[in-house]
Amino acid sequence: MSRGGRGGGRGGGRGGGNPAMAMMPFELMGDLGSGGLFNVQTDLFPEREIAYPRAPTTREKEQLAASKSYRQALKSSAFYLRPPPPPKDIERYSDRYKANLDKPPSLQIISSNTSFFPDELHSILDPKKKVKARKQTYDQSNALRDLDALTNEAENGNKAGEDDDEDEEKEGQGSGAEEEDYDDEEDMIDDNDYGQNYFDNGEGDDIDDDDEGGGDFF
């Protein structure tokens, strides 16, 4: 973290001199390690002279004024997002004079073209647009996976099928973001059919197969 020094930069140390070093040839200084050259003072806040900068010119002052007015305008616009204020506990005298931090204008009133934004964000700009349902695009490489999923469904009865139906309904309604996250989780569970395909905890094994298991050992 900075020490709050103005203008940054590192210490312009003067380099503490070492009188005994004067005669040492440079090649042998490697043997001294860093005790030779870097014998500088090691205070946390060493003394240093700080130069005075030039006074601000009129141009710079006007630039500063423009920048300040811009930032103030930005702060009161819809683009400055604040966390919601804490709930009031008791009524205080100074509340009368508090500057009215009215709820800042919401992002819906900014004029912008929704084509500039990805689909997920359209609901912020235009509250009438519901969150678009994710498009389940049909992908050749995933056809096999889908088939596997279907066969697993048939095995496990209709339990998986009911979950999927629930998903479809929720997607169809296009309700808020929480549902979308819920869908994501469901999707992730569905895709992970490793567990359904490969884990076999031995419940379905016939006891008669014991003798045939010997072939697997190498």
Binding site: G4, G7, G12, E27, R71, S111
Partner: protein, 554 residues
């Protein structure tokens, strides 16, 4: 490089608030993320994250890319660090657009930067709501808008702008690779990459005139002899369409700033007349409209410049009065300009150079050498103020002489090698001081040692040590230092405001903001002191940004 993200965070915090800053921080540290990724890392509600992303995309600092993952279409978001760093210049841009084009232009740029993107329709609406006597003003504003658009200070926004550039590039490359029959070899890949880059650059350039339509004005009604084609060329003007969104084109502003800086350098080194001549040269050769990366301007000759020279320049400049010429003969404009060209050409910054392939006596402005000169000058100044005179002297010797070696007695002239003793001789310092100062420069990364071993076992007593300075590396380090300094300054401003939080809240009270006298004398003094401090800090941040401009953008 943690200095850049830190500075980006400070800027975003100041402009857009703490929520957007958190989202930006996650994107800066983790790279590209999807919406759910951001939610996971920031622990904020989804709607808030969405709003923050909308704010950032609207202000052109965040990009998105839609990709396919398995069955789903996901959208990745990424941050543009360069765009955020350019926001440091907003005050400068608003001020100078007012200086160059008038008060309406500064209002237009202010509004455009406030909203991120703006249409002409919205501008007119704002004028109606906020200005007195709007009817006349609307015409003036519209005119200024068209002027800014035709000079490309503002450009139209296309939906592709918010899409990450690298995705477009990768897509185009993938398409090109697919067209090859066999798998691409490395050379073909490199060619494809180059071609795709060119294509994208050309597309960007050709987008300049989008959003404008032609407006034919009736200026030559009575001149029937003008041929139809000529009339079209003379009277066509570009007008801005009402519904297209525009945004600020930072590159164009940077180009103007660069030209101004170059002219200031000429004025400093030579004289005011030289500065004016150079300005005319640049205007003539259309440097105000070309790309910024160009090393040279278009060529012009002395005659061209002389023809646009304003007449009152004769009496103001010092070159006019010559005692050795015939008294009755006034020097012609072309002569004066030629003399100035000579001065510009031979100055240490080498402003212009000959371009005889375009014609006799044609010159071009050599931006590259001016840029190097400015960078070097700034670097020297900074070193001097940081280390003192003698250390600076040593560094200058090293820069000029190449690599300096341990002992002068060796006649090894590997790239002009001299020794520690030679450095000592040239810098006129005792041995102890030389060594210390060289070590100091080394710790600051300015000079380096090159070891040349004499024996196979590389014993330090039997190797030659060459000290040298690598200027490119120094400039890059300096740029990072500048970023760190600006971030420090911003943090200090925040700290100063934070320690006086109670006082600032007092200022915001309704009764105080109307009547300042309700504050006690101590409070008023404290406010004044705060304002002065913040002013000085902000001004120094602005100057640092100027230096960043020299090193990064020119």
């Amino acid at each position: 490089m943690s200095t850049q993200p830190r500075l980006c965070r400070e800027i975003v915090l100041e402009h857009f608030g703490p929520i957007v800053e958190q989202v930006a921080q996650v994107l800066l540290t983790k790279g590209r993320l999807t919406l759910s990724g951001i939610v996971q890392f920031t622990q904020m509600p989804v709607r808030t994250v969405r709003e923050a992303l909308v704010v950032m995309i609207q202000h052109n600092i965040c990009f998105y890319a839609e990709a396919r993952e398995g069955l789903r279409q996901v959208c990745f978001y990424s941050i543009g660090q360069d765009e955020i760093l350019l926001r440091l210049r907003i005050g400068r841009i608003i001020y100078w657009s007012g200086e160059w084009f008038g008060k309406e232009a500064s209002t237009i740029t202010h509004l455009m930067l406030l909203n991120g993107r703006l249409t002409l329709k919205d501008l007119k609406q704002w004028v109606k709501d906020n200005e007195s006597s709007p009817q006349q003003k609307i015409v003036a504003y519209e005119q200024k808008f068209s002027q800014l658009a035709s000079k490309r200070f503002i450009t139209a926004v296309m939906p592709e702008d918010s899409k990450a550039r690298i995705d477009r590039k990768l897509e185009a490359e993938a398409i090109a690779v697919n067209e090859l029959l066999l798998g691409p070899s490395t050379r073909e890949k490199a060619e494809i990459e180059f071609k795709v880059q060119q294509q994208l650059d050309d597309e960007d350039q050709s987008r300049q005139m989008i959003g404008m339509k032609r407006k034919v004005t009736e200026t030559m009604d009575d001149d029937d002899e003008v041929s139809a084609s000529k009339r079209f060329a003379l009277t066509v003007e570009m007008e801005v369409e009402d519904d297209v969104f525009f945004r600020i084109n930072y590159k164009q502003f940077t180009k103007y700033f660069r030209n101004e800086a170059v002219i200031d350098q000429a004025t400093d080194i030579i004289n005011r007349g030289a500065g004016q001549v150079l300005r005319l040269f640049l205007e003539q050769s259309d440097s105000f409209t070309g790309g910024i990366g160009k090393e040279e301007s278009q060529p012009t000759s002395a005659l061209h410049v002389a023809s646009v020279l304003p007449h009152d320049m004769f009496t103001e400049t010092g070159l006019d009065s010559r005692e050795d010429s015939v008294h009755n003969e006034r020097p012609t404009a072309a002569d004066i300009v030629t003399e100035y060209f000579e001065l510009l050409r031979q100055s240490p910054a080498k402003f212009i150079k000959r371009a005889d392939n375009k014609g006799h006596n044609f010159f071009v402005v050599d931006f590259k050498s001016i840029r190097l000169y400015m960078m070097r000058k700034l670097f020297d100044k900074l070193m001097k103020s940081r280390f003192g005179n003698s250390t600076c002297r040593i560094a200058r010797i090293l820069i000029e002489k190449g690599k300096l070696e341990e002992k002068q007695a060796r006649a090894f002239d590997i790239m002009n090698a001299h020794g520690l003793q030679a450095v000592q001789k040239m810098a006129m310092l005792p041995a102890k001081d030389t060594r210390e100062k060289l070590a100091l420069l080394c710790t600051h990364g300015i000079c380096d040692i090159q070891e040349v071993p004499k024996s196979a076992d590389r014993a330090p007593s039997r190797t030659i040590f060459l000290w040298f300075v690598s200027l490119d590396k120094c400039y890059q380090e300096l740029l990072i230092d500048l970023y760190r300094s600006i971030a420090n300054v911003r943090q200090r401003i925040r700290h100063e405001l934070a320690t006086r939080q109670r006082l600032l809240e007092k200022m915001e009270r309704k009764d105080v903001s109307e009547n300042q006298d309700l504050l006690s004398a101590g409070d008023k003094k404290a406010i004044e002191e705060l304002n002065k401090k913040v002013e000085r800090l902000e001004v120094s941040a602005g100057r640092l940004d100027e230096m960043v401009m020299v090193y990064r953008d020119f």
